[in-house]
């Protein structure tokens, strides 16, 4: 045997090895089995217990696997009865319900009765053996008790009128009806073994990889599961998700708005955009000199060019926000003032305030978009003579600013908060008692606090709307917030497949997924 012979053999072997991948040629990655749809979510399951869930992934599963007394209609905030045959608000503090008979829980846990409603709702008001409330206790804070009046009938008794209870409690993830028998048997395991009575059952979970929902043949509710299985792959990285979508591995994914043009590369795909209701803003700490001077805050508001931020950081893919509540929400202030970039006015206000040499710190998350926003704001403020130091933080350090009064040292902060459909959820973080916790502007207004309290406990929609608009006017007068965007959600989905979403784009209504 000689070396040259070995070399030839080696080269031959290498060439052969290089052809191995060709053995896989033309193999479709996604089976054309239309009884199954494979979609992508970005976060794995944390805890499926409705009272201790951790994010939208769990909400999306709960909507499909569990029934609520009432559920949102497809792509809408309007609701219709689900497990309930009838559901009526008979007074400000009483809601009566009657269940449809014969609604069976998965896994042989029996028929749903009014006792299951009492158990599912009252567990939000109870504390564990160490005195801790569930994470989502606030969703049912108005609940006094549930009175069972028959096998299928009962009354939800409230401590005070609670208009938000319908959209935040009864129709949402918190209102998912659990089997009391299953919870008694499974104990803490309900965090990973969800037993519901909805159109789909929770069949399988491979942590960090995928979970599978399977059509429930015993389902007796108003909807029809259109797929035998919904397979959800967990793909945290948006670019990977985009590639998986283009490679036909998944039929639905959300993408970063700036990547939406990439979606068009798929011939048999469609792009869907849903305006968000979340809110991102630059908060100004009103306690920290010289920001305690309202003229300085107004100057900063005129100096920062929000349109340039939308163009530079978001490539004009998201709409600009001008106040707290997004269009479509109760209390949206359509006549809100729009502050255009006006460096001359900003300089004049600074001169009036007697401030000529200001240095500030701008704190933000360390993702690319947040840093781009911070850099644009830094350049804008330099234009009017304000020197800004950027302080990007990872999410752990950033959200720790809500602890131990850490926000007292903040100056300018880019803040992204998520929303719910009732405006009281959004306004609560601007209350005086949130200073030192999540009110990082540290702005206090007794009138705002009073309005929040009143608006959260009256049922008249018109009156509520007026109060929320007034609250936003107060925020606007404080010049403590520079609103950036409510965001947008961009999805790519196969043309054969018809998804459904709530109008926030975050909550996916898997139970209504269908073939186009």
């Amino acid at each position: 045997m000689s070396i040259s012979a070995n070399r030839r053999t080696f080269l031959l072997g290498t060439a052969a090895a290089a052809t191995v991948p060709m053995l896989f040629h033309g193999r479709p990655v996604l089976a054309a089995d239309r009884d199954t749809v494979t979609i992508r979510m970005d976060t794995d399951i944390g805890n499926l217990d409705p009272a201790n869930r951790t994010g939208s992934t769990e909400d999306n599963i709960l909507y499909a696997v569990c029934q609520n007394l009432a559920r949102f209609n497809p792509n809408s905030l309007e609701w219709s009865p689900d497990a309930a045959k009838s559901l009526k608000q008979v007074s400000d503090t009483e809601i009566d319900f009657e269940l449809n008979p014969g609604q069976m829980f998965h896994g042989g846990y029996g028929e749903m009765t009014a006792e299951d409603i009492k158990f599912s709702f009252e567990r939000f008001t109870k504390t564990d053996d160490k005195g801790n409330k569930p994470a989502y206790a606030d969703d049912f804070s108005a609940l006094d008790h549930v009175e069972v009046t028959g096998k299928y009938t009962g009354k939800i008794m409230l401590k005070n009128p609670a208009p938000a209870l319908w959209v935040i409690g009864i129709c949402d993830g918190s209102g998912a009806i659990l089997s009391k028998a299953a919870c008694d048997k499974l104990g803490d395991k309900i965090s990973t073994q969800l037993i519901g009575s909805g159109p789909y059952s929770f069949k399988e979970w491979k942590p960090k990889e995928q979970f599978v929902l399977e059509a429930n043949p015993d389902y007796k509710g108003p909807d029809t599961p259109h797929f035998k299985q919904i397979v959800t792959k967990i793909i945290p990285e948006p670019k990977t998700a985009l590639l998986a979508y283009l490679a036909d591995e998944i039929a639905l994914t959300e993408v970063d708005p700036t990547s939406q043009d990439e979606l068009k590369k798929k011939n048999a795909g469609e792009v869907k955009k849903i305006d968000g209701i979340d809110y991102q803003w630059i908060g100004i700490n009103v306690e920290k000199p010289p920001l305690d001077n309202i003229k300085v805050r107004q100057a900063i508001r005129y100096a920062i060019d929000v349109d340039a931020i939308i163009a530079g950081a978001y490539n004009n893919t998201v709409p600009r926000a001008d106040n707290l509540l997004a269009p479509g929400l109760l209390g949206y202030w359509k006549d809100t003032p729009v502050y255009k970039h006006d460096p001359d006015k900003a300089k004049a206000l600074l001169a009036e305030a007697g401030q000529t040499n200001i240095s500030l710190t701008f704190t933000s998350l360390n993702d690319a978009t947040s840093q781009a926003i911070a850099q644009i704001a830094q350049a804008n403020l330099a234009e009017v003579g304000i020197n800004v130091t950027l302080k990007p933080l990872d999410s752990g350090a950033y959200w720790a600013l809500g602890d131990h009064d850490a926000s007292k040292d903040l100056e300018l902060t880019l803040i992204p908060y998520s929303s719910k459909f009732d405006p009281s959820f959004q306004t609560q973080w601007f209350l005086s008692d949130q200073v030192g916790v999540w009110n990082w502007q540290r702005w206090k207004s007794p009138e705002f606090d009073q309005l929040h309290k009143e608006a959260a406990s009256i049922l008249d929609k018109g009156e509520r709307e007026k109060k929320y608009i007034r609250m936003q006017q107060l925020l606007d007068e404080s010049a403590s917030c520079i609103w950036i965007t409510h965001g947008v959600h961009v999805f790519g989905h196969d043309t054969w497949f018809k998804p459904a979403f709530l109008p926030n784009g975050i909550n996916w209504q898997l139970r209504f997924y269908d073939k186009a």
Binding site: M1, S2, I3, N6, R7, F10, T14, P21, M22, F24, H25, G26, R27, V29, I45, G46, N47, T54, G55, K130, N132, K133, A135, Y136, D138, D188, S191, T192, K206, P207, K208, E209, K233, I234, I235, P236, E237, K239, T240, A241, L243, A244, L246, A247, D248, E249, D394, S395, G396, A397, Y398, W399, A400, G402, D403, Y417, S418, W429, V437, W438
Partner: protein, 321 residues
């Protein structure tokens, strides 16, 4: 007591110390890291009471030494406690993804050895030739290309354009073909850098050995060239490579995180990353222990193999002791 046994016991003791030291260092670091799990997961929904409750549940309100002792004593029994969010045993969370990472790291190591050693040998027997020059250029290109860049390029070619191989996941457990499909691209992305590195290392080492007197003697005695290279010289040339492999396993597990993120593969890398980002310290500690254990055991094995291949190593350590 036989010398090899003493050598082994000494290395075992050092290994245990390394694990304890790494875990202690991690515990110490946690004292200074801002942020908590509940705030990261729930944002403004995280009430101070809930944060305090979860902190207590994770045992973070206990003194440093108490926590360290509790963790080490429980970990020694294979018990890492339960995850405070899902309530699942942390042992399950870590061990269910560990095979995926091992599969990826060891397949990448295997591929890089299978390709890198022959390439290095080929370059060494023909120094200065076209093949040697070409291999030098290609090796440096492989070494300097980050694995995540390579991952994306491979995905674009083989998954998006050609539709030959899947993009995400680790494949169906028990289905060998499916798992192999899911392994090809991440393995290639991880292995190529090491192919270049191993090829360079083997070339340099083999050239050095081939220039030694005993090799000249072998040639003078008419031993065939292939036996000189493959049987006599290669054995000695591989000693430095084996030492590097110990470090390589750690490097591959570290690099696996990029492949796991890009290919959405469940694994210890993404588990570590997510646990650190979300401040889920109990899961982070358990994952760190597993990674440290893997690393030190690999190095222990490397030391033992080195000792067997080259008795001078064991003799040197004995003299040092």
């Amino acid at each position: 007591m036989p010398q090899p046994l003493i050598f082994f016991l000494r290395r075992l003791f050092a290994t245990a110390l390394t694990v304890v030291g790494a875990v202690a260092a991690l515990f110490l670091l946690i004292q200074f890291v801002p942020g908590d799990l509940v705030s990261v997961l729930l944002g403004p929904r995280a009430t101070p009471a809930l944060r305090a409750a979860i902190t207590a549940k994770m045992g973070l309100d206990e003194p440093f030494l108490t926590r360290l002792w509790l963790f080490l004593s429980q970990a020694a029994q294979g018990d890492f406690g339960n995850d405070v969010i899902s309530g699942r045993p942390i042992r399950d969370i870590v061990f269910e993804v560990l095979p995926n990472t091992f599969e990826l790291a060891f397949s990448a190591l295997g591929v890089s050895l299978l390709i890198g050693i022959p390439l290095g040998a080929l370059a060494a027997v023909k120094p200065g030739s076209l093949i040697d020059t070409l291999l030098g250029v290609v090796s440096v290109a492989f070494i300097t290309t980050p694995s995540f860049v390579l991952s994306i390029v491979l995905l674009l070619i083989f998954s998006i354009s050609l539709h030959w191989l899947p993009v995400t996941g680790a494949g169906t457990p028990g289905d060998f073909g499916d798992r192999l499909d899911h392994l090809i691209l991440p393995t290639t992305a991880l292995a190529l850098g090491w192919v270049g590195y191993i090829a360079r290392l083997v070339r340099a080492s083999l050239l050095e050995v081939l220039a030694e007197q005993h090799v000249r003697t072998l040639r003078a005695f008419g031993v065939p060239e292939w036996r000189v290279v493959l049987v006599f010289a290669m054995r000695l040339a591989l000693v430095p490579l084996i030492s590097v492999l110990g470090i390589g396993i750690g490097d591959l597990i570290g690099n696996a995180i990029f492949a796991e993120i890009v290919f959405a593969r469940p694994g210890i890398g993404t588990t570590l990353y997510n646990a650190a980002a979300s401040r889920n310290y109990p899961v982070l500690q358990a994952a760190i222990v597993i990674v440290v254990l893997t690393y030190v055991i690999a190095n222990l094995l490397v030391d033992l193999v080195n000792g067997i291949l080259d008795p001078r190593v064991m003799r040197a350590r004995r003299q040092a002791a």
